[in-house]
Symmetry: C2
Subunit: 131 residues, 2 copies
DNA sequence: GTATATGCAAACAATTTGCACGCCT
DNA sequence: AGGCGTGCAAATTGTTTGCATATAC
């Protein structure tokens, strides 16, 4: 694989944010460093970096989102604002049961906890308690 | 909500398959019953049925897939063929920790076990053992 | 020098939407 | 009768790709 400054910039952008950006956001950030970078280049390099194992991706609300954190971790997703929050929560499942009952070879898991974030959760303030 | 034959047909299609179909598949099935049904109608009704709670949806490889099984259940996803298999596997996570550490109000979870299905998993036949 | 990576724009795929008409209630 | 639901087609959005040029090695 040949060196490319564009790819280097894209990698640094994805790996230095926890915002789980989509290609367009990465493109806009990249333009700040490389004025004439093209969206196609961003898409191409995100794919390369993913197949590299440098970054990860997942589908969310009709877009692909990228994650520079390739450590095993899961996400909280707010149904109100869509924010994705990294967690160190571990999830347990019965691996042996899957192998045995479904003849399936598990490699990885994708785990999202859907709900409401700090800002959007139902408040349990005095005000509500009074209701 | 007014009755609509189209919606009825669409609901029955989604609720009587375990294939986790996308809109286009549903559209093609629906055409067998209603020759001139339109794709827009299918999309509109899938959304309505989802907001109803009649069906569920999730994003998978740049498409929305629908699931007539609204019971709490999780999926195995084969990286080779993309098949999605329903399971009754329960996953455990520390709900209290999420509420406390992240001030998050969890409602639902989305859980996919990624790996290789029966057909595509690494074989452990005599042949391989001999290698 | 050669082949890979890029910029650009056109092509694609999935989904949404505006509008006039039809059908439930 | 009134308004929600439909069919149709055009519009949008996210992503991919072909091609000529630029650049890493």
């Amino acid at each position: 694989m040949r060196f490319s400054y564009q790819r280097e910039v894209i990698k640094n952008i994805v790996c230095s944010t926890k915002s789980h950006p989509n290609a367009d956001w990465v493109f806009n950030e990249a333009k700040k460093k490389i004025k004439n970078i093209s969206l196609g280049t961003v898409y191409r390099n995100l794919k390369i970096l993913e197949s590299n194992g440098t970054i990860k991706s997942f589908h969310d609300s009709s877009q692909v989102r990228y994650d520079g954190n390739v450590e095993d971790h899961h996400h909280l997703k707010c149904i109100e604002c869509g924010i994705l929050i990294d967690t160190d929560i571990k999830s347990d499942y019965d691996r042996e049961k899957i192998i045995k009952n479904y003849e399936f070879e598990p490699n990885d898991i994708e785990f999202f906890i859907i709900g409401k974030c700090k800002k959007h959760k139902t408040q349990t303030t005095k005000k509500n308690k009074e209701l």
